[in-house]
Symmetry: C2
Subunit: 394 residues, 2 copies
Amino acid sequence: MTTLITPEIPKGTRDFLPKDMVRREFVLEKIKSVFVNFGYDTIETPAIEYAKTIHGNYGENESKLTYTFNDHGGRKLALRYDQTVPFARFVASNYQNLPMPFKRYQISPVWRADKPARGRYREFHQCDIDIIGTDSLMAEGEIARVIVSVFEALGFEDLVFRFNSRRLMNNILSRLRIALDKQLPVIRLLDKLEKIGKGAVGEELRKILPEEKADALLKTVGVTGTNEEKMRFLEEYSPSEIREFIRISEAFEVPTRYLKFDPSLSRGLDYYTGLIFKVSLPDVKLGAVCAGGRYDDLCSTFSREKFSGVGAAFAFDRIMLAMEELDMLKDVRLNSQVLVTYLDEETLPNSLRIVNSLREAQINAEIYFQSDRLSKQLRYAEKKGNSVCYHLWS
Amino acid sequence: MTTLITPEIPKGTRDFLPKDMVRREFVLEKIKSVFVNFGYDTIETPAIEYAKTIHGNYGENESKLTYTFNDHGGRKLALRYDQTVPFARFVASNYQNLPMPFKRYQISPVWRADKPARGRYREFHQCDIDIIGTDSLMAEGEIARVIVSVFEALGFEDLVFRFNSRRLMNNILSRLRIALDKQLPVIRLLDKLEKIGKGAVGEELRKILPEEKADALLKTVGVTGTNEEKMRFLEEYSPSEIREFIRISEAFEVPTRYLKFDPSLSRGLDYYTGLIFKVSLPDVKLGAVCAGGRYDDLCSTFSREKFSGVGAAFAFDRIMLAMEELDMLKDVRLNSQVLVTYLDEETLPNSLRIVNSLREAQINAEIYFQSDRLSKQLRYAEKKGNSVCYHLWS
């Protein structure tokens, strides 16, 4: 007897069975149909890019988490680590053939040599939309509306759209005379507020800022109240972008109750330059299910052309988790509807005629492949999700 | 000025623009809907597998064309080379949770470090269906019907479904007393008939077989006439499987005119054991657009369980090429339908109300993001495929 190869898959990767796929596709189709409804087109970029494309655009940390290998001519390649860098490369390659502003959605797998954990995979799908080539705040408003429509289409009844402005944050940091080289570290600390709490962040802040500045900053960004009250409190730092964004979002019919201006929201990434946001679902404890913001220059490493834009990334795996937890997918069934049984040779031609006509009538139907015991055929029908069994007696 | 990274992609990979994607998705959706209509479910396996999984299942040639790399713990991984080996691994891992017979379709990218050429890529999509867990010829009949339905759904009016039986081929080879160790090389030569012609194959055959055997073989498998005439000519080799397959296919309403019994059809792969087939489109010169056959033991390298089945692989890129060539995709449009223009601040609230209602009515609509010249907005509308422009005068 030859030795068998153990049929195992790498840690952090997954097999999806039909029952998993039908739920994933149900959710993806709903999401896509909203994107399409708003005039977003999709593109595809290769999963393998030149390593220089990938590594030239991430910090050391991300680069370390990239899978790299040589092609057979000795050139270094890398697997897609996220969709943003390939999208920037794509725009730099193709912008002359793209409508501007360019509105695209993209859903594809990415790979990260990360330590697997609950909800953290080495191969997973990202789901992004971006509008590039416009400075107009209309883009932010539309993206907010797309996000609301996505979660509504999926059946969620509530969400919190927390947002802030990097410009406002910069104004606050400047007015508090926080040195430029300390601003990004400070922003990265504020980004941890949700995770580690005000006390811990304050402690860390006091390590890089004089105590009174640290306290003033926390007090300023920690203001509570309604959106209007917070804006008034921050009037001296000119929260005009916040005011304008709320006005435009409302014109896009984003329900005001979803919008929560949060002056402490930071998002650790340094490429954000304008409005930033993070969406969560109050019905589940999961963290952000969508996040994004305005960046000034998407393609800076690839092109001298400037492409400003707004992007949002949906956390597809978390959304799946939330919907499973809230039992929102219990009615999603496998595709097959009718099983026509196989009784014997004599009735087979009739059974085949029936399955042929059902299929032609766009009813998803199958025929059992041999004249097995009826109980076995019924068990098969059930496993395949067929809700009707068509059985002919001779 | 910093040096820019050239925005290029590896040879043999492709960027797909919205106009490409909308055609690809149109075709894929049609194909999928047929699979679903016949009760096939989809699965997903990781793009990265352990290298042993991949290399333990291919010859040296295929293994050389696989992209391999180490994960961060030093284990050897490989990118999916085709869908068959991962499917075999998947079945061996999960068969206890699958309905049997298991009917699945799968459409996903695969990677091959091959020399790129017209129509040959390093990253491309495969599109497979398989029925495993049954010996019944009903499976072959159904797969033939699925194939016909796919090409009909895509709008093709003609196809040639060439088929043969490995059992019949084995009977012929045995009756001609061709030694067992020469049978696979002979089959591989016969597989080249279409490509290099009868003369060249004959010459090669004579190098490994005595001249009279080579000639007898070519005469036997080269028989011409109707399916019935060929079967009668080959009666002594018992073409019962051929006869039975034709009967069952007709019961599945496969039009008889498509079915072409070709006793010389061989398919070079050694894992086929029963019916084999190759589908081509007479309207284009492209080679096979679909091919497959019956195998005895899908998971032999992974499991002692036996899974016999029938599979078919659709050549998605070739099908796209054929449809472009025959101008069958000219009416496929981008998804957006209506552009609402942005005249000025005063009319904007009205424009937004219109775009909001259009979207709510499931009409794919967009609004222009700033008050540009009308000509520019119209150019954008055209580029995005919007067929209607909604313009408000104040």
